[in-house]
Symmetry: C2
Subunit: 164 residues, 2 copies
Amino acid sequence: MTDVKSANNPLFLREEELRQAIELLFFAYRDFTAGPDQILKDYNFGRAHHRVIHFVGRNEGMTVSELLDILRITKQSLNRVLGNLIKRGFIEQRQGEEDRRQRCLYLTEEGRQLEQKVSRVQRDLVARAFREAGGDAVAGYRKVLMGLIDEDNRDTVLGRVLKP
Amino acid sequence: MTDVKSANNPLFLREEELRQAIELLFFAYRDFTAGPDQILKDYNFGRAHHRVIHFVGRNEGMTVSELLDILRITKQSLNRVLGNLIKRGFIEQRQGEEDRRQRCLYLTEEGRQLEQKVSRVQRDLVARAFREAGGDAVAGYRKVLMGLIDEDNRDTVLGRVLKP
DNA sequence: ATTTTACGTCAGTCATGTTGACATATATTT
DNA sequence: AAATATATGTCAACATGACTGACGTAAAAT
């Protein structure tokens, strides 16, 4: 941040720093998803299935609309993936009790096992990175990522993430 | 980290914390790519084109192999995207001087303009998040993301990211 | 002279996203 | 009670970006 170059041209390093941050996110995300992708291939599932299993596992009884809202995809896209997971017995639907139009989503026992298996890989990766980086770094990581989330629904999203 | 729950079950909070970190990355990445995606749609380009333009812009004269190595996709996949960008005049190839089998990649003037336009959105987003989070947080962000990068080629990747 | 490397290309497939139209059951509003 | 709105499902067509496998060509390395 204080450097010969930045003394001459204060914008230079800043831009370079931002570029690095962007690439870092790209590479980290790439490797972060590689583990789950690998496991899911054995089930003929993809990343889309993973996301569904993950969010349903974390929000048992959530409705289809809520899931659509999180994933930001069309219901047609979701339905192919979700239908698949239901047909193959990883997720089950129950009619909403208050509003019987709703379909509430739950993991089956099989679904829970898959969720655990896949998320373990990812959690182990993150855990190692956290351990190596230390507590302060983790706090910074969280702070920055929160800031990257779309301001317009940041509260909603963070509410969901930090939920419990 | 020190809490009623974690006193009873030290694994609980840890797992929850990791889960949050994972979702945070998911949401941040989603919103981080939304801006560029939006702009690129006007050109009938997608995220794949963006990545190519980004990395070629950052590594002028890089070869096709190097690009393949970064993106981790097949040459057939790359070729559709790359061929498209070349045909439409955003990227040009020149035969390697030392090794004339190589095709070295460069942005055209038009390509550079698009790269700037798209990356500005992303840089602005990251810049705001960095400013709001503060320098220490940024250091932590970098530390953690570096730790998420696949250990086996971490040095290679970081070498590229931190290159200049 | 042979083999390896860097790149390109044809052809087919799959996963995951999109739009648009329409159907059905249940809630809500008038 | 009738009309409207909402939650969900479904059919069909299409785009993007990944994949595999096979084959070709030019240049470099052995």
